[in-house]
Every structure is written in C-alpha cells, then in structure tokens.
C-alpha cells in the first residue's frame, strides 16, 4: 500500500494543502446554493461545466498524489480516490461493481444530493455533478487515461427521488 498523504494545515497562511492543491471547508448550504447559481446562470451548459470542473479537480489532486506517493495498481489508486472522497465529506462510494475500465458506482448518502433535497426538495434531473466528475477523474488517473476517454453519468440520484445515487462510468 502506498504511503498515505493527508491534508496539511499551515496556520500562518490559513492554507490546507493536499498534494499541492488547496482544501477549503464549506457546508451543504453553500455547496448546493452555489451549484444552483451556476445551473440557473448557465442553464443547459451548466452540467458540462460542473462535471468538467469536478473531473479536472480530481485529476489535479489525484494526479499530484500519484506523483508524490504512487499507487501500486489502478485499483489501489481508485481506492485512494474513494477514501479521500469519503474523508472529505462527500459520501461513501461503492466501487465493488467497477474496475479500472469503468462500471457502476453508487453513493448511498451523497452530500450534494442530501443537501439539495433538504433545501429545495426533489429536483427533475440528477444533481451530483461534482461526484460524477470526480469519479471520471479518478478513473482517468487510476488507469492513466486521457480525460476525454472517460465519461461518468449519474443515472439515478437521491436528489431526483431515487433511493441512492448511481453512476455509470464508461471508458472509450
């Protein structure tokens, strides 16, 4: 197993660093309000921005960690991505039906979905763009794939009335 790198807090600068990227704490209200602001402002183009931002965020973060503390296998890399996701408060991703070429992942209690539904009720479309993008980025890093070859789609979402959130990750 690779050496674990955790967030490091620099009190003099007010910076929390994880593998060279900034970690910032925010709550459910801000997260879903900001997402809604983007969706209202960009309409049909919002999902692409939100998911692409999630993917690039994950690629930068996890790619940096792979350089500093390389995983022994794609699976281990994916598992680290899932561990970080849960430790950082976004929910627990079940990747038992995924391999390094994609598959299906679920989140029983997704932060974004719970936050959305508790604030605004059920929405029409799945709303976990950050988790979807993050998953795609995690697979791209784990399997060393160009980002355009990985697409993660949320096919059912707690925020849209489903019991849990389901993501299909496809590798082209």
């Amino acid at each position: 197993m690779s050496k674990e790198i955790g967030p490091a807090f620099d009190i003099e600068r007010g910076i929390i660093d994880l593998g060279g990227r900034r970690v910032v704490l925010h709550c459910n209200h801000y997260n879903v309000f900001l997402q809604r602001t983007i969706e209202d402002g960009l309409k049909a183009r919002a999902p692409r921005l939100l998911a692409a931002a999630g993917m690039e965020t994950a690629r930068n973060l996890l790619g940096g960690l792979e350089v500093k503390a390389p995983s022994a296998s794609p699976r281990e890399s994916l598992e680290r991505a899932v561990r970080i996701f849960a430790e950082h408060g976004f929910g627990a991703i079940d990747i038992s039906r995924m391999n390094d070429q994609g598959g299906t992942a679920t989140i029983a209690r997704s932060h974004y979905a719970i936050g959305w539904r508790s604030r605004w009720g059920i929405r029409q479309t799945p709303g976990c763009y950050f988790p979807a993008g993050y998953l795609a980025g995690a697979v791209a890093i784990a399997s060393n794939l160009a980002p355009e070859r990985v697409v993660a789609t949320e096919t059912a979402c707690y925020a849209a009335g489903a019991e849990q959130c389901t993501f299909v990750v496809e590798v082209w």
Binding site: G14, C27, H88, G89
Partner: protein, 217 residues
C-alpha cells in the same frame, strides 16, 4: 479574558474533521465538506467568464449572484457555527463583547483553509474591514486565468457582509433559528450590510481587502 483568535483557530483545526462511516461530516449542525478550491474557482470563474463573453453588460449580475452565495454561506455556516455546542465550548468562554463574536468567527475562518483573515477594523454596527492573505479565490484566479481587472473574492466579500449582518442587522447572539424567513428578514433589509472588495491579490495587490458597510438608499 479577551478573545484569543489563534486559540480558536487551533481548536477548530484540532477537531480533525473527517467523514464518518457514511462519508459525511456532520459538525456545527451542518454537513461540512473539505472541498477543493479548484472546483469552486472553476465553476465560479466559469460562470463569470461565460457572462463576460456573451453578455458583458451582465458581468455585475453574475458577480452579484456569486456574492449572494457568499451571503448564504455566511448565514448558514457562520450562523450555524455561532449557535453550535462547539462554539459554546471553545469560543463562548472568551467572549465579553459583541465584537468578540466577530473576532471569534475570524478565528474559526482561519481554520477553514480560505486564507489568513485579519480583522483590520471593526466599528460596531457600522463598518468592518478585513484583510485577507492567500485568499483561495484570488490565488485560483491568478493561477488559472491570470491577473484580473476587477476583484475576484466573491465568497470572501459575501462572507464579510454576512458576518456583520448576523451581528448587527440580525442578532445571532440570541440564537435565532436560521430559517429562510430569517435570512430574508436580515439580508433583505434595505439597510443591511454589503461588502466591496477594495484591493485584491488577483489584481496585483499585496493582499485582499474587504470593506463592509450598510447600504445607503
């Protein structure tokens, strides 16, 4: 005993918040995330960028929307923290004045990874000036988009206004329920506080400066 901001920062940092078995972080009556600055910056500057390209006359509207998200953040995050048991345990014992509430909250903010906030000026019920080093919004702007013509710390500005509104427009010290109605009552008041960012690292200034005053009509 006086407010020891650094002790507050250390105490909050020492909580070592991390996801539970469900991968969630319930704290201060909220669900927290240890999110990533890259994500917030990409989506916020993505929205502003799209407006500037396509509807330049609406740039200010995009910024107002993002600042409003900052107001919501302050109301729920700062508000939630200031009525929490954690606040009672760590910060409340050091509070003797209403201004200590602001200082205590700055101590908390300095543990959130947003940069280093300094309360440069606080005139009770009137004016707040925050100086921020390493603001994650400004740093993200410079890193990903280059030097900006205008200030870019929307969350910080909204947060500063929110702090003053919680203390001097509403009254967070009375532990109000943080409902939508209360939000509109406090932030929708015509004389409620609003912020201007007067210096920004993203514009080439040495640090960011947020000035919060009441709206004048």
């Amino acid at each position: 005993m006086g407010m020891d901001e650094r002790a507050v920062t250390e105490a909050v940092a020492g909580l070592e918040l991390r996801g539970n078995e469900e991968g969630l972080i319930p704290a201060f009556g909220l669900y927290l995330t240890k999110h990533f600055a890259d994500y917030y910056n990409r989506i916020s500057f993505g929205l502003v960028g799209a407006f500037i390209r396509e509807l330049p006359e609406l740039e200010e509207d995009a910024i107002a929307l993002l600042t409003e998200a900052g107001h919501v953040c302050a109301f729920h995050t700062f508000g939630g923290i200031m009525v929490s048991v954690e606040w009672d345990a760590v910060v409340r014992p050091m509070i003797s004045t209403r201004e200590d509430w602001a200082k205590g909250m700055i101590g908390v903010v300095n543990a959130l990874g947003w940069g280093r906030y300094r309360l440069a000026e606080l005139v009770p019920n009137e004016r707040l000036v925050l100086e921020i080093a390493h603001s994650y919004e400004a740093v993200g702007m410079l890193e990903g988009y280059g030097k900006a013509k205008h200030p870019r710390c929307f969350l910080a500005a909204g947060g500063g206004a929110g702090l003053m509104n919680l203390l001097y427009q509403g009254d967070i010290t009375k532990r109000p329920a943080l409902t939508e109605d209360y939000y509109h009552e406090v932030f929708g008041h015509p004389r409620s506080f609003r912020a201007r960012e007067t210096r920004c690292l993203a514009m080439g200034d040495s640090h960011c400066e947020i000035v919060v005053e009441r709206q004048r009509h």
